[in-house]
Amino acid sequence: MKKTRAETDFSHRRISRRAALLGGAQLLFIGGLAARMRFLQVEQADQFRLLAEENRINVRLIPPSRGEVFDRNGVRLAQNAPSYRIVIVREDAGDTDAVLERLSRIIPLDPEDIARTKEELRRSPSFLPITIAEDVRWQDISRVSVNAPALPGVTPEVGLSRVYPQGSDFAHVLGYVGPVSDYDLQKIEDPEPVLRIPRFQIGKVGVETKLEPLLRGKAGAKRVEVNAAGRVMRELDRREGIPGSDVQLTIDAKLQGYVQARLDQESASAVVLDCDTGDVVACASAPTFDPNLFVRGISVKDYNTLTNNKYRPLASKTVQGLYPPGSTFKMITAMAALEAGLIGPDETVYCPGHLTVSGRRFHCWKRGGHGWVDLQTSLKRSCDVYYYDLAIKVGIEKVSEMAKRFGLGVKHDVPMSAVAQGLAPNMAWKQQTYGQSWRVGDTVNVSIGQGFMLASPMQLAVMTARLATGRAVEPRLIKSIDGVEQPERGGESLGMNENNLRKMRRAMDVTVNDRRGTAYGSRIIDEGMRMAGKTGTSQVRNITAAERRAGVIRNEDLPWERRDHALFVNFAPIDRPKYAISVVVEHGGGGSKAAAPIARDITLQALYGGEPPLEAYPTKDRERIEEQQERLRGVQPQASFVGRDQA
């Protein structure tokens, strides 16, 4: 746009005018600032000088001591132990290189630590204390104290640090704490000042993070007098903080230790619920890891070892792991049909080994079929066709609803990390998620706990507890807080027909205790402690028609990742159910072979409150069990005090 000379002059004049105005305003503001400075620095100088003198008195936060965690019998699971570290202040040290050199001759120092300290010393202001070494042994601390004159600027400091005496047994339930990171701070709106204390520990995973507000406590404060160099001369007064609440878990450390040892290095998990109170008595996920490694920051190498392990030790499989429940779901399908009144007293179904539904053939696991089966036989021998038939009759909506009433597809309130909701699918869900309408084949898959159906071991244990009691048992992990007992969660009645429930329990009874039951090999001989249960084997792959013709490949011949998951749920004793248990062995093969024996061992251990007598086992197993007990007795929970002596 070409402009005329006149226009340019006009605009230039206007800019000049406004520039003068704005410039004037700016100078006026600067004048205002100058006046304010004069007011503060000249007129009020004396007053502020006085305040500055008072400022020699410095208020410092005292970190609260974190609440401790105990098991149901008072065994300490998480505690605070003094941890010593050595710090150096550059302006007091003078020649820091020489001081560090002398120090490394007195106590063993990691060359990496020395390099890091030098780097930090170079970058930080001279009055800031820099940590040379953490988690120092008491004898090294005393050496430093004795040699103090030769080590100007070097001081030992004591703080509290979290220790998990039970080591890896509680890694997944309890989680661990770690130093506050920038990422943590960012997630919190208006963080408390105490979080800004360097190396302050907060819960990162599990109960430690879910109960963080309770465990943390309130920071105290102390007033200290500092000299002109910032050194603390004396402490004037202090207000102690309020320590965090002590928390008692419902878990029995002894049983937990046993379960963890029994699962060993399998990729497996097990949950033991108390049927009366909902108490989570054991909750173990294997393989596990040592949470103490995380407390002060885990080394990259250790961390990579953990994350690269194909058995996923960091995952909390009991609540986070979702598996197709397989045949353990058959009780739900049966209950849906029973409650709908669709199973007559002597009703039987013929199983020829498969069922054709809308042109697609669904197979029973037994190729030859089971022949005529009734409800009890079908569960005992885990016939699939019987449940295909039931589910088609009853419809997916009722099955899905029944699953939810038994706690599947429902997120239970357990203060652990990454609690999964699982899935009890229905038509609306499929429409919403996939935009496809529900097909009857989907119902057939769900009827035996395959297809879209997903549940966590915790949910399966809840399901079993509800079957055993007929009450809406909810898992309870926190027994008491600061000695205040938390409400039990045995639950109200589910409002189901007691006769139907009794039929299911009876069917589960024969599954274990009848000679032809799938879990007969894992029965308990001891009369008063017999258990009822159900095996499950859930496929993680589709078996193609071609494969079926060629003969289904045996599990043992498949690579580990493609083998079936082995599941088992049970409750015991049959007459007065005390414990409900679920065991899932990832890619373990068949439920009766891989999961049921573990569940039996755990059941006996729980019922006897320790090692059961060999008489509880069938005669032919006793020799093997004795060997196993011998071996497990040797596995002690490794209390980890790496690089530390108890002072």
Partner: protein, 379 residues
């Protein structure tokens, strides 16, 4: 103004241009930065590391950058105004997605050798773009509603993006600088009056909404405003910064405690003493005379800029220079008001003195543009 006209009114050429730089401003910039080095040396407890040394290196790079930018004719920079604005805007959007998270806010793009804060750059490119816009727009249309709405949008888009980061301080500066430029360009008084009136209305509404169900800002934000209005209510919490800052300033007295003798800042009573609160160290150690001297240096830069703008007959150039000066003014005015307890703590550094790479380089770039406009002005 065509390129031809520029060429006819001969501007200095070649290396001789260096002689025609606005040397007073260059010297003033160097002196202020020098004050900065001294203060950074002092707050580090008498050490060039960790702050003073990198700051000196950055200033050296910045000074060379300024002269290089100044050597390039201003009409070249003007032709870049639109692209520069759009690129910076794209960078701002990019931090939303790839930004490095620092100090609880997303502001940086990591370039490898330095961290770029697009919001800093935006202060300059926004001024450039608006100056070019008003240079292009016939003067008669300046106050036409449509031609007013356009720059308003141009200002509001980056402001909103910066506010989302969240960086309240910089977004206020952007808004003020953009508005100031529109004022300089001659937009009618009535617009500014209307905006002012509605702003007052909005603030009243926000305060009226407190405690009601439709509360417009969060509780902790209200608490921060409370503490600003009366810091003594919470001397150990949020009011701490303001109270401590005032104590440090006030205890300086007429002549201060002397170099490296400040107790308040060295005893860590103040946070961020090497960045936003560095002025308190100066005020404490050099007293009223010291702080007045720095304020005087800043004021002189503004005066020289306005003078340079007034003698420049090119509309783009004078608007650009005034805009840069305004930006610079807002920078130190907000920071100083903050440490003196006249404004809430919003996190604006003291230009050229506070430790920080991005801000320093962008400022030197801006003064490079200013120098280019000065060297290549119509005589």
């Amino acid at each position: 103004m065509s390129y031809l006209e520029y060429a006819v009114k001969t501007a200095p050429t070649g290396v001789r241009k260096i002689l025609y730089l606005n040397w007073p401003i260059a010297i003033l910039l160097a002196s202020i930065s020098g004050v900065g080095f001294l203060m950074l040396y002092s707050v580090a407890g008498g050490s060039f590391s960790p702050w003073a040394e990198p700051q000196m290196k950055r200033f050296a790079v910045g000074f060379v950058l300024m002269i290089s930018v100044a050597m390039v004719p201003i009409w070249f920079w003007r032709s870049l105004a639109g692209i520069a604005y759009l690129v910076t805007l794209a960078l701002l959007v990019a931090v939303e997605f790839f930004g490095v998270v620092g100090m609880g806010a997303q502001r940086w793009i990591d370039l490898g050798f330095m961290r770029l804060q697009p919001s800093e750059l935006m202060k300059i490119t926004l001024v450039m773009f608006l100056a070019a816009y008003y240079d292009w727009l016939p003067a008669k249309r300046t106050s036409h509603p449509f031609w007013v709405l356009l720059p308003v949008i141009v200002i509001l888009i980056p402001t909103a993006l910066v506010l989302r980061q969240p960086d309240l301080g910089t977004s206020i500066l952007l808004l003020a600088a953009g508005g100031g430029l529109m004022f300089l360009a001659g937009v009618h008084w009535a617009y500014f009056a209307a905006v002012l009136a509605s702003a007052i209305g909005l603030v009243t509404t926000v305060f009226k909404s407190r405690g009601t169900e439709w509360q417009l800002i969060k509780d902790y934000q209200f608490r921060r405003i409370d503490t600003f209005l009366d810091p003594s209510t919470d001397p150990l919490g949020a009011g701490y910064h303001i109270t401590q800052s005032k104590i440090a300033l006030g205890s300086g007295g007429w002549t201060g405690r002397g170099f490296m003798q400040g107790t308040q800042t060295r005893l860590n009573f103040l946070p961020e003493k090497h960045t936003d609160f560095i002025f308190t160290t100066l005020a404490e150690e050099f007293g009223f005379l010291g702080s007045m001297s720095l304020l005087g240096l800043y004021a002189l830069i503004i005066v020289f800029c306005i003078w340079s703008a007034l003698i420049n007959k090119d509309r783009f150039s004078s608007l650009l220079i005034l805009g840069i000066a305004l930006n610079f003014f807002l920078f130190f005015a907000v920071n100083m008001s903050m440490v003196m307890g006249l404004a809430p703590v919003v996190g604006v550094p003291l230009p050229l003195v506070s430790f920080g790479g991005s801000a320093m380089l962008v400022l030197m770039l801006a003064f490079g543009l200013m120098q280019s406009a000065h060297v290549h002005r119509l005589r």
